[in-house]
Point group: C2
Chain length 200, copies 2
DNA sequence: TTCAACCTATACCGATCTGTATACTTTTGT
DNA sequence: ACAAAAGTATACAGATCGGTATAGGTTGAA
């Protein structure tokens, strides 16, 4: 039903999988340009030859890193949505619950897509599509929930929820204040209830 | 009244000023680690010796870049706030108006502090204080406005406005949808009005 | 006038970067 | 059993990195 956005061309052999895991951790924690391929190889316990036999270039490792992380996030989110039922309110809460758990476990430094975007200047870079694709997909997801809630202006509400969500990821990463995702969740739910309530 | 948070130790001679301007543009557009000191020197029309005589290290150039940008943003914002009067509603609008103009002119790739944070892993890095300092200062600014509005829970409202603001900067930088800052402004104003309205 | 501050020009250093080459070993499916 | 795939180990290439050294030129104020 849905087109798979992953531009993956790499077969993940055991060595490639370990390399991708190590690269993902290092890229996220230290930044993409600050991590060299030698370090990735050492941390993964593979040789540089294996890296280049599987991925071909560092750029491709970066693309796989983002595509893999996007894939895992969507699967994690799908697990939460599957148990949320059909109520728009519950579905919205499920999304933010997933974000709260995900950020607590895997996103102490904020959104990996936003962070990667900070280091990539060329819009023709293949990672760009992955980054922008996830954001557009999240906006579409919010829009679907808002449309199902029969609010007056679902697109505007979805965009506002998107602002709260993105703002929470940033605020969490920079530790501006605690429980940012929970606050965003509460405020988004309140907005949805206020917009859907009067129509009932 | 307010302590100046700038950790600046550098005298900005004409050559240093040109270097800092070039570094700022390059760091923001391409990322910090992707820009070498040779490129900065070439673009600024100075020699590397001048760079190191004035700044001492690339790390210090990074700190000056962020501190300078923070300083210019605060001055730009102060200009808008000075003409806004004392009304909390007008002051909030003035902040978002400033953000809207600033992002349109100087922040096509999102918040420079957030982007720099993505490339810095060590919390002991001197740039960290500048980055986190600006976010905390913005939150305090929102909190002051909300307190003046006599709303029930000014701290929570300020944090919510912060989420909208940060989310708008990210969404603008990633071009998730157009006019993100304007939407954040409208939503923040609506929240303030809703929270202050019933008490009047 | 003289001295210090500021600057250009150029060459260099050791380290690190992405990527490749060569030779050999292990695993795996048929 | 055998061949292809996947892996290790190591060395190396060319470029670029941050940073330094040396020598000389320009400017402005005491």
């Amino acid at each position: 039903m849905e087109s798979v956005p992953s531009p993956r061309r790499v077969v993940l052999t055991p060595g490639a999988r370990r390399a991708l895991d190590a690269a993902g951790r290092l890229f996220y924690e230290r930044g993409i340009h600050a991590v060299g391929v030698d370090l990735i190889a050492t941390e993964a316990g593979v040789t540089k030859k294996t890296l280049y036999d599987r991925f071909g270039s560092k750029e491709q490792i970066v693309v796989e890193y983002l595509a893999d992380r996007d894939e895992r996030w969507r699967a994690f989110l799908a697990g939460h949505l599957d148990t949320a039922g059909d109520s728009p309110g519950r579905r919205l809460t499920a999304i933010f619950d997933a974000s709260r758990e995900w950020t607590a476990e895997n996103s102490a430094k904020g959104c990996s897509m936003v962070n990667a975007h900070a280091e990539i200047s060329d819009p023709a870079h293949p990672a760009y599509a992955v980054i922008v694709g996830q954001k557009r997909w999240m906006l579409d997801l919010f829009a679907g929930v808002c449309r199902d809630a029969s609010v007056r202006d679902p697109e505007t509400l979805a965009r506002t929820v998107m602002l709260l969500h993105e703002g929470a990821l940033v605020s969490h990463g920079l530790q501006v204040f605690p429980e940012a995702v929970q606050l965003a969740s509460d405020q988004a739910s309140a907005l949805l209830a206020a917009a859907a309530g009067p129509a009932r």
